[in-house]
Symmetry: D2
Subunit: 433 residues, 4 copies
């Protein structure tokens, strides 16, 4: 039985998401697919295979009768971190040390999975329709997350090369001009609701491949008490962050969290990732190559420690994830996403609460912890989000490498406070008297 | 001018706190004072000197005219982590590599500081009385914190010795008997206030050397919304934790946070710190030496990861720091503290909410983050608490190594989730329908 | 002016050596060129570029008027370890993290260098003819060394892949049969001469691209006193080494040097590199893929520690490099070299002193130290051999990955005692009463 | 039966050597006994116990009927590296983390061992007399080696303290004056004999506690061919080494072995160990405290890499161990030893071949390898010397921390080329045309 109502749209969504992954890889040389210049920056080839393994493992093997896996060891090579599957997994730091399967074999793997997935969608066993649809939604959102990682990992891996090769030399650049002035929008306090609506009661993002989808970590919807606050109308710019640097921001321990100061001393941080001075002029390596810094662009590729220290220096603070969600809850999901094909954050326009979605993920002051009464999904898929709930901080909003239909106001992204290779920026907040 | 109202009581408090530090060291051999078996377990000699450096730096040098420091390099040797003082500090991992000053020279240092402090308290410059009194309160509370660290560090450092020497062979032990059954106390939800009262509006702990004292991280008092919950009436016991181990708790990745599972694999954890099997019988190394496990005693010396995994296995969860504070707010500060001279957690009696204070610090589900509108103290003393607000979890309640007059319901202790060498245990919570 | 006498032969030698490098790469996929699975196992792409950089740096830039380098940063990317050149060098552990230049750009680099080199050879400035000829000899021998490294690094890098892909599935294999019995040849003691003959006084290897060539570390010829000894007529076999393993060789510390025993404990060595048991049968991963162990083949891919421990267990010892050279001095340079295209050591035939050249490099008991009155070449080329004269051991004879015309009796190869990824085996020796 | 002939002298030697160990510890504070500021610089307390364990293990347990060990776990705590004894050993890097047994308990251990040893010597079982006498010789020489380590480890451990405490503030210092000029003594080449005489055929050092004693690594006596050479008449001085530093010695990679250059870059070496500049004046920390550099004193506390680089810079080379032994063979064993109680090398006087013994161990150009036909002692004692024969270099002559009766011309000391904490200096050599 086909998943009647949604069949066409599901298959179309599947084709669209899968095709976009491959489209992102088009500018790559075969050699680029192999790079892993840091443990967290996986090779493009691995991403291509891993997202296919996800469909093979959680949909094809359990639900498509007679499905024969592409290769018996891919279960081991392309599992990421699911401890509860049988095969175990190849060590993450060594993903770049596997030349075979070749890139072309990985594409053949993708194509076998695609063909089988479309067959499964076209003739789904009725008794599994609900599970299958839920897992398909996860699978497509999972692939969209890896599309963002593909972009950020390619950026990191190419930028590690001292020749600073461009991923796409044809990317558009923003005109150099002064940033719009920094203004704030005020919000009253009070008890408000947060988190995703139960299915059917609200759409997270109507253009999404799985419109009412939200991850388990966005549930359950619950109430919190907010105090009155103001939220900046745009992200902090390169020009403003440069003031912080020139004021000795990286030299004053009093501005920093203790763990952040330790990073400065051991890693030698003196500026955001990808910044370097050439002949006394600050440059930034982008996916379009190395460019002089544009003062109006949002500052990007910062750790939580840098975002938090900047806010302290500026006499402000970072917003909590709930302040951010409260401000964003009824705003349209608009901004510069990966669909805009700029692959770099764009200067803000005028107006209230610009750049909430897209451009840069925004560090919040909230630790990544479960919502009250949170329950992880059963089985290996329950490892997707829940097991990472320690030591990380929440980011909100999406970036220039996020798909527009992957973003929503309740979305909780999370990274360790020292990590800088994603497109991460700063939106300031402050208390209202 | 003396600090008239409080002079006698301040001097008495000073004498009492300082004397207790030295009393804790009485069972030590000279050689024991040198031990640092892990970076975080500082030598007793260093603790003795560091707390004196604190009074010298923040009270004697600024406020006692003509005070001459005991030694010009102690500023460097015995500063802990204050980045904003001039001298810098000796590397923390090498505190055990300094044989000179000798133990007896460190005691001479203490006595010079004590003599000068008592002179300062007896004749305080009027214009600095308020600052001085505030810093004295911090200094005494600081020394009480180091008294607890003295006990836990001595425990760690002696237990590292394969001979497992006892700190005090004469410590009393609890009778071996079955634990009291596990019951829960229910709490309604609603908006409640949390954090310390502004000075003069409430006593944190009336028997404290600085009765209305609270650290800056307990301020400001503010409101939160709680959902209905139940809190266990006692701590989890050794017997219960042993069930978890025997059920394969340390072998099932599905029970663990990802960072916790990584610890298990790299550190080889299979039981709490200080547990070992001898001839198939579980033993625990205590400050009184190695003993067979007492099933009714609270399980202790656990990481957050272990506490959290145990709670998941038990079908419960850890409480938030606010649930804990709400439950403890109007309870008397009673329990087995360091004053009881048992130096080990004691089996619970019957009744509601036993063991809230003393016995073991209780891991909460709350990350250590600033309260809304939190402001750190100005200057180097502002590094005391605020700069540690990332990556750590809050613990509440105090332990068998805490002074009774150092505990209070609003007190926020904090440690990294992997740390186990403090007296840390588990109190379960659960949601109310 | 052409280097008249030798012009044709020099150009021919140059073409021949350069072509063989590229021939060795023919079986590779583009992805394979990127692999660096250990610091010492450089990517094929890097080898291809580095040997070209050598000619560009030491011949084309100084001697070919108007020569324009292929790329201004290749000086930095493809220098290996010459500290006395200006550019510095890219960190060795990160050679696999450079996807650009691509493989095809590296081949373009090679071809530019080749075209320029042939022009230089065709029209050499007379005043530099001698220097140029000397450097050409070094350059060609250098490229031959890297051909061997190409083979051994490809082997290591492919074998790291859990799929164990073959470099060439069509390689011939030796028939499985019993080894020939182990016999010894006796030598009298006395004062003998060692090291390379001064140029013109003897040919090192008449078929070499630079027939009278020897490295500076083989000079000067000098005398040593040998005691009477016997040398094994063939290499130790897999069957014999398996006896050592099965007798608990890797479990008895008394058989091992202290540094070797530390390797066993930290690296977990239980067999030679590339050996693994599948269903209780020992297999070996070769360049032709994984195969069951052939008992008659020489044991290979051993550290010095393993060779030395085996000899002790066998009641024998390793020969010194001088005993080996004395035995080999008047033997023809014959054996299974890379030219035989087997790429694996071959079982010995009967007769005295089999396998002296080719098959496996033979660990000697001699530390790699300068000969009396040794002088390194002046300038950066002096770093070629001399600066490695500490901590390494000498190997003699050449392997199945060495070019026949690169081998000679005075050749001193050297590696650290823990290194195993070259084709290294064992020839036993013993004292004569 | 007493070991009649030698009874008095053996007991006297035993008492004398054992007493000297304790005498060396007299200036220590209890705290100093605990220090281990580097893995290789063991605590004084450990040395005191380990040398006693040696007698207990190799003499008392096998030969004294009814001997009861002092403590059952000392076998584990105070074994150094003997893999073939049953107990295993406590990790070497953690020798400073054992406060119990206390210093006074370790002295009690020593006294029990002494009392038992003297009983054993007074009534030795006849059938074991020979073994016992041999082991006693090893035990006493072993203790003398640890006396030297005691001195050098105390120096390292105290100097690590930023207060630079003196071990003995009363040590004499040499007058500051110009060094004597550097002259050389010439030696003819030829075949000569090296190594210790078989017992009874020659005295190694007639004042030794075991006069004809030599370690197994000095055997067998054998012949070598030397080429003509010249040997410097004194050690290189501080003044000469300072010229090397000021000429940029530590900045020119061309002067250094590759492994040495790596040390400079990773360890930041810019001068010998213990040198530091205060207000632009070079000082040296000695066992008598920190002093301005004396230009005439031998430069000391150098790695092999520094000694070798200095020799290259000076246009000379290091001697081989055989050149050194040939020069020293018929010289009296005279010099500044530990018995002189200066504990620092002393400026040379005039004359041929000054300072051959005492002052500083002299790095040779020889790797530490077995002599032809070398056989290690059977059993655990065979681990004493033989298992260290890889990766280390030979030093000759003895130092200001060596006992005069422990030195002899055939003595082979050995250390890794990067190690600097022993008293190690440079004697230059050169080839004779």
């Amino acid at each position: 039985m086909p998943l009647t109502d949604d069949l066409n749209s599901l298959s179309a969504a599947y084709r669209r998401v899968r095709a976009f992954t491959e489209q992102l890889c088009e500018p790559l040389e075969i050699e680029d697919y192999m790079l892993q210049a840091a443990v967290e920056a996986s090779p493009a080839k691995w991403h291509l295979a891993h997202v296919s393994w996800f469909f093979e493992t959680f949909l094809l093997k359990p639900f498509l009768p007679g499905y024969a896996v592409f290769h018996p060891r891919f279960d081991y090579l392309f599992n990421s971190y699911y401890e509860q599957t049988e095969a175990g997994f190849w060590p993450r730091p060594e993903r770049g040390l596997i030349s075979r399967p070749t890139v072309s074999e990985v594409y053949a793997y993708r194509h076998q999975v695609d063909e089988a997935m479309l067959r499964l969608l076209a003739d789904c066993p009725a008794e599994h329709a609900e599970t299958l649809q839920a897992r398909l939604a996860i699978g497509l959102n999972h692939e969209q997350q890896h599309q963002e990682l593909l972009v950020t990992d390619i950026k990191y891996n190419l930028a590690h090369n001292p020749l600073r090769p461009a991923y796409r030399a044809d990317l558009p650049t923003a005109p150099v001009r002064a940033p719009v002035p920094l203004t704030f929008t005020a919000f009253e306090g009070g008890v408000h609701s947060f988190g995703a609506q139960p299915e059917g009661q609200g759409d997270s993002n109507p253009s999404s491949p799985a419109p009412s989808f939200a991850y388990d970590n966005e549930f359950p919807r619950h109430q919190r008490l907010l105090e009155p606050f103001r939220l900046a109308d745009r992200l902090v710019t390169n020009a403003e962050y440069l003031d912080f640097i020139e004021d000795g921001g990286y030299q004053h321990p009093g501005l920093w969290l203790s763990d952040g100061w330790a990073q400065i001393k051991t890693q030698g941080w003196q500026a955001p990732l990808y910044w370097e001075q050439l002949d006394a002029v600050w440059h930034e390596t982008t996916l379009g190559g190395r460019r002089p810094l544009n003062p109006a662009e949002p500052v990007c590729h910062l750790s939580y420690f840098e975002a938090e220290a900047y806010a302290r220096w500026a006499g402000r603070r970072l917003p909590t994830e709930f302040e951010w969600e409260h401000a964003a809850a009824d705003r349209a999901v608009e901004g510069h996403f990966v669909d805009a094909a700029r692959l770099h954050p764009t200067p803000a326009g005028k107006g209230a609460l610009q750049q909430l979605f897209g451009d840069c993920w925004e560090w919040t002051a909230s630790a990544y912890l479960p919502y009250p009464r949170y329950r992880a999904v059963e089985g290996a898929l329950g490892e997707y989000n829940g097991k990472f709930m320690s030591g990380q901080m929440v980011l909100r909003g999406g970036s220039c490498a996020t798909s527009r239909d992957h973003a929503r106001a309740t979305y909780r992204n999370f990274f360790y406070p020292h990590e800088r290779w994603q497109f991460k920026g700063i939106r300031l907040a402050e208390d209202l008297a």
